[in-house]
Point group: D2
Chain length 401, copies 4
């Protein structure tokens, strides 16, 4: 066992951290005040700088123009990027584009790669992933209503999706739809590329999440497909392979989220410590002299360390043995890290008092934006059942899912 990060990687991480502090943190209040869309020109310029420094698309193979990092090392990068609300976007490794890139690399045809993957990789367009439906529980992905019926050389899609994150401004959606309703449950759905300009694709609205509509990349769309028509060449992989393709990248997707959360934790921890030192309760008596604040700092430090090690171990296991071997670890980090995240943020807010509720720090935005961490990509309760099922198998008990 060796907990050391190799020196080249340490240098990269330091470089990214410095870049964030100098180029990205200053954009945060701008985005908070003026909105994501208004900042797009500046964000584009900042992205160009990232490309020049060689940090673009850290998770993408070198052949496709990325840094080619394995999951563990991309995790380390992600934990730095997560400190800013804009970090992943600026480095072009933001969800859901990162996932769509992976799917296209693994399953895209040459034409799909040319039309969709390459502009994504260059950062010229954005994409979204339409799976969740308002009338069906996300915890039961097999129970889905959106359909894609073959009609001539086309698919005709009908259905209702929501929490299609970043649909506003996206060039295309990867859509999960039932193509084979008579097949076995796991073989009914397919993934289909649907340009947002296709006839019948309708972005109804950006949902208000914790009171905010958001806009552009920072939004969650409600989408309706009304006889929406796309050529059959937009199918990803084979018909009925929708779940399989989705599952293939679940592991990596969760590592990405979890390491981003570690980054948020570190930012919250840093802000908490700064405030504790700077804020005086009485002249010469900073908040940090209160024992409760000290306990929060210690508990947060321990929990973040624990969370970080767990995510890295899970990434290492996926890198070396595949995601199937890491099923328990992946579900463990999903609920464990989300819990740590919300607890650390809560303590950081409480340390700031009323200030913590305002937009003077990114804390309120993190808190509002990440309450969903315990829900999206599978609620805590489902991941805990997954872990228990795997564990109990070793004790000879099969629990139906």
């Amino acid at each position: 066992m060796d907990f050391a990060v190799r020196p080249e990687m340490q240098q990269i991480l330091a470089g990214i951290q410095q870049f964030l502090e100098q180029e990205v943190y200053p954009l945060e209040p701008e985005v908070a005040a003026r909105g994501f869309k208004a900042l797009l020109p500046q964000l584009r310029a900042t992205r160009e700088k990232v490309k020049k420094l060689g940090y673009w698309c850290p998770q993408i193979p070198k052949d496709y123009g990325g840094m080619g990092l394995r999951l563990l090392e991309h995790g380390l990068v992600s934990a730095v990027l997560g400190r800013s609300t804009l970090g992943h976007y600026v480095f072009n490794c933001q969800a859901p584009d990162a996932g769509n890139m992976e799917i296209l690399i693994a399953h895209g045809t040459a034409e799909q790669k040319k039309n969709y993957l390459e502009p994504l990789l260059r950062g010229e367009i954005r994409s979204c992933f339409a799976m969740t439906e308002p009338e069906r529980p996300g915890s039961n992905p097999l129970w889905m209503e959106t359909t894609a019926r073959r009609d001539g050389g086309h698919y005709v899609l009908n259905g209702h999706k929501w929490f299609t994150s970043a649909a506003d401004g996206a060039a295309f959606a990867v859509v999960m739809a039932i193509t084979n309703p008579e097949a076995a449950p796991h073989r009914r759905a397919s993934q289909i590329i649907v340009p947002t300009g296709a006839p019948g694709f309708k972005l109804v609205r950006n949902l208000r999440v914790m009171g905010h509509h958001g806009e552009d990349y920072a939004s969650h769309g409600e989408v309706v497909f009304e006889d929406c028509r796309v050529p059959q060449t937009n199918l990803l992989g084979t018909e009925g392979a929708g779940f399989l393709i989705a599952q293939e990248r679940l592991g990596a997707g969760r590592i990405h989220h979890c390491m981003r959360w570690i980054g948020i934790c570190e930012r919250g921890f840093d802000l908490m410590c700064r405030r504790a030192v700077a804020r005086e309760l009485a002249p010469g008596k900073p908040l940090a002299t209160r024992q409760i604040i000290q306990q929060w700092i210690a508990e947060s430090r321990a929990e973040i360390n624990a969370a970080r090690l767990m995510v890295l171990e899970a990434a290492w296991k996926i890198d070396n043995f595949g995601q199937l071997a890491a099923r328990v670890e992946i579900s463990c980090i999903k609920f464990f890290v989300a819990d740590v995240l919300l607890r650390v943020l809560d303590r950081a807010v409480q340390t700031h008092g009323a200030l913590g509720l305002t937009s003077e720090t990114p804390l309120a935005a993190f808190l509002a934006g990440e309450r969903g961490a315990r829900i999206y990509d599978g609620p805590d309760e489902v991941h805990k059942m997954v872990v228990a099922r795997q564990v109990l198998k070793k004790y000879g008990l099969q629990i139906p899912s």
Copy 2:
């Protein structure tokens, strides 16, 4: 000991509950979609109905046109009103107006009552309370920088306040300012009525709280006083009595908040149960069949019951023995009920999944709006120290505050 609510009161509570469901709940999504200000005409009409039903100003003595309820019974009313984000406003017992009314009744001159109290009681104007300062910790109210200097027959105020809730649209502010800097710490500040139209009164902005600026009543202002000039007849009570006057109504103020929170808990609990019954995980298998959901329902029920009884006992103690005798109880409910509130809301949100984060239910608004419950009117940590100090006195130990 008798836990029964007298029959007349039960009838009043049922009447108010019915009114809320029929007249107020339907306005909630309107306010969420169009903002508080746009709804003012309708809210005014609803308030007139409340007056006709005889439920106007439940906490105000009959001589002043209210229902004249004692604290315990007003608490029961408040727990019903709190179920709606608009309840207290519609019944004219909302903070900070309710507190300002009490101060004016107790300390206002005939002229102050005529000019400020009476239109408040009639619901014609609103008011705010300017105490908290950005550069000074709210937990140390004696350390304040806003000053009011005598100049001829006037006070000239200078200073910087924030979290002056509902300043936007208010007719006047009650301002805490240092008038006697050389006096003993507790005798330095005075309360002064400052019309928002006075020269030098400047509402800088509505703060963004959990990302929202809010507007009109639903807002938290940042206020600057620049050589703001008001006649000395605007002084409330005597010079140097600012803290004393503030403290007099702390007890009642906390009962009001806590019982309002109980109302929010009940609404959250109701929404959680409804969702658990209505949402199916698979055909014919509602969410409520999951043991975790059942445990949350049971834990929430127990915690809300506990919180409610504690607040009622504290109110009873204030009614019968005065707030000094109830100091431990008042501080206990402040942190205990805030904690229950946030836990119940959190469970209700998790039960709703992604829906709980949207504005389709009032849950997200409650969650965002009430994270501050553990901060405003004294953070948890301060109230816990107050309790410990009182308890340890009985064991012969004086702990300096």
Copy 3:
């Protein structure tokens, strides 16, 4: 609503508290050092003093020689008695005798009352209640294996019980056994009085609970019935009424436990405060000056107050509307108060440091003895399901038990 305790009752409570401090607390270290059995003579003498003071059997009707208190007021007494590990025993209202007395009063024949109830009431004998079986879950009382077969004028019992508390030294057991295996599940069992001297009654051993065998009253027995023969006149009530009789007194039984736990909490709280004031971290700097200790004191005070009010309200509801009306409240207090109990004890132990683990204070005995509070009389998880089932019924959902 009225939270006042009537003056006569206040006087009684003060008298009992004083008696405990003077006569019972001093016996605690004796029992700890020498065992329960060795102290029996002194305990007997102390009981005689209780009789003389008129506090004997507070929960028993005056006609039967008790104080005749209703449940709420007995609850108040119980919260005082619970402060000592010996309190309930000394006042002859200890479980399981208290429950057996109630059963005998309600269902005993004249002969049963003469032979079993009267000596119990006089404190001359003790009894036990044999229900739980090692091979069957306590949470499913219908699934039981002990049988009582009619044979001539006798019942012949066979079966295996454990956690038959206080069997060691008891004169008789009330035994739950299947008499009617063909009846509907709830009508299969009967309650039968079995003298411990009956042929075939065998106390196998006192179980080691948290490492202690205990002895006499302070013990939990494992009991085997091997063709154990008792006359049919020992049947309590009618055949098949076993569950009904058991359920009739569940409500009262839980109030008794919960109020006893409140008493333990108050003792733990008192010890924690005393230690915080007395123990110095450095010369002149008592432990109570640490903020964490202060927070524990405040949190404990709030939680104990909450727990106490909930139990009293549940008792009031049983007194006034019967235990069926109070089903939610009864289950809520069972898990809520047990949780508070263990948390308060845990904080008290931590405040004492290593001392808290020793037998120098009653804390370790309370902690070891009451970990079972979350298990006996129904584990937390079962009570939470009971609450949820009742609540969800109002929302139109029937959940099978």
Copy 4:
């Protein structure tokens, strides 16, 4: 970074696990029933088998007859040994002997090594460490009352110690005593070897901890030194170096404890899973089908994994950079792992119901024996302050300890 355990080590761990299951687990109920002392002959025989297998003294350098494992790998071994209450003892790496061996290796004179270290290493004698005093807080080690006065060629010790673990049956004690009362606070104490047969050494009693006196190795002694006289050649290192020597091995000591706790967690987890699968709530419906049990399994799995990784990283850091560099990590694991330990045990007990309180499983013994984990070697609250102090230093704030 590499989370793989080298293959040779994996083999050793598997061998030790197998040995435990075959040779040590079967002794546990024997010790529980008959006491530690009665089992000494069998334990001695088992220890001989360990020696033959080459697993003796895993933490001791090969030159001294041990396996020579570094801290990280000894941690892995320790996590296996901890699964049994007897594991460390049987492999001769039990506290406090392990610590005393390290001290003697580092600071012992040739004569001290011959007389004390060598028989310890061979497992012929046992030792204890007398530091904690009843009248002084363990959290302030500088405030100590035991003195050792020079008198001719001897030290004369006077003082009162307790929680001198394993004093019963020990051949000698390493005693912390003030030799230089006029020196700077950290230079006042020395470590002195005191044979338990020395005149004036008095083992007053074995303390009752959670109700048990214990005996022999499994005990905590109260010791009095009354003009206890030992030659000056029994001084360890130099006069006044007592704290320095003690601190040198704090890091390793905490890794040992924490990894032992991980072992206990794994045993508890295993027992919980076994019980969940075996215990039926109704015919064919095992406890493991309950969602709450599944959540406990998942939460426990995640927490144990987190705890294990944190301890291993701390050990790795000590191995590679020394314990000073790992100060934050060492204090973090002390409170984090103790918390996980007690939570996992609590869930395991609750899963077992009443059975979990009995001595039929080792759970009750673990629970009673390890409540102290949050107290001994520094209470949680002190370790949290240590972490906060270190963290806040980086933010420019020095907090006095």
